[in-house]
Amino acid sequence: MLHFNLADQYRRGSSRIHRLDPRIKILGAVLFIAAATVMPPGKWVAFGLLFVVTVLVARLSGLGWAFALKRSFVALPFALAAVTLPFTVPGQPIAQIGGFTLSAEGSIRFLTILVKSWVSVQIAILLTVTTSFPDLLWGMRELRIPAPLISIVGFMYRYLFIFADEALRLMRARASRSGAGAGKGGGGLLWRGRVAGGMIGNLTLRAFERSERIYEAMVARGYIGGEIKTMTPPLMTDGDRNALVVWVAYLVMTLLIGFIF
């Protein structure tokens, strides 16, 4: 079961990490994942160093050592796709299952992918837990992601909850009108699909009407199209800049260890 939890992941706090400039945090997370991505397979010391630093960040954020571990599963379909690697990548045989041989190279590659994925999810979670959504949007805009796209994402996030509520209401209404249990249900597949499609059509109309009214409200407050005006951002502190330098240095060191040893 995948949980579609619409509660914000952000947890308020005043740790050093919480107070870091959002630009630094976003850059740091992306550079971390990039370092993990380019790391050659099987460099367990280097991956260990990356893992250690995620635990450290969790600790510094006031979240406790094991926080991010609770929610860092690897998406199952893709893990299944990769689980064939030990059997299909040629190399030194290390084990036999049934009549089939696992190769060292294949197993190393498979485990490497899992570790990279896991450690990347860790840092991504830490980013969103320590940075509020408006701050994330702000940080991305300052990092030169196009302002109209940022505004669009901001609107989406703002109205997501309203449409999710609507969707939930429609699904509950449907459930209360369906006699049989929720699992099987009566009516053919096509009919059920058409009902779902009808619900989505209903939401579509609400979306258009809602966007019209929002546009009128924007116009009433002076919007004439184009970019939405915002306040200028505060300047970055030296402390934050230094933090990024240290972070990058650590990543570079980890990469060197991975490539050389």
């Binding site: 914000d8 996030y157 703002r158 924007m218 009433a220 407050r221």
Partner: protein
Amino acid sequence: MHHTLDVKDLRFKYPDGHEALFGVTLSIAPGEKVALVGPNGAGKSTLMLHFNGVLQGEGEVRVCNMPVQKDTLGKVRAAVGLVFQDPDDQLFSPTVFEDVAFGPLHMGLPETEVRQRVKEALAAVRMTDYIDRVSHHLSVGEKKRIAIATVLSMNPEILVLDEPSAGLDPRARRTLINLLRDLPQTMLISTHDMRLVAELFSRTVVMDHGRVVADGPTAQILNDAALLEAHGLEKP
């Protein structure tokens, strides 16, 4: 400053052909507090959307003695603060601060003044502590007050509110009534809440089928049982 609203023989037809206003004439003097009542579909909301130029019909609409037309829209929208029925339509920014700052920012005001106006607007609706909050977590009553703040920050001379007390529980409604009583602006509200009308508004305009059918002192209108019943209203 003449903070007035003048409408003369306003007619409006929607693009799909639906005729909504059949010649509305109405004048509101500075400082007046007027209630606009009538059944659903009477054209109250449609009329209100003409006051800041969102809709433009035939006839004359003047705000603060300015005709509402293309080149005056900026000034008109700063003079008339329109608060919509559904506060979710008006709170579209990520944070309360950004929503209340939206108006002044788009008026081109310098940032220090924007910040000042946000503080004052939130204080006027008694929601100073909400400045960093995220809109979708607020209750309906809180959202309605923030929505009022989002137009107050533009320092309008006239406030136009569409169904301000709809959907509020008694406590939130009482808070809102006290707020409306204390705000100094010229005010026009549309509402079904007849007790609110009786309590706050000295003048009442009755609309039905796209026309003004009565316009006079609230006490007089609310005592005219025949009039009220003819237009789907009830005495409070």
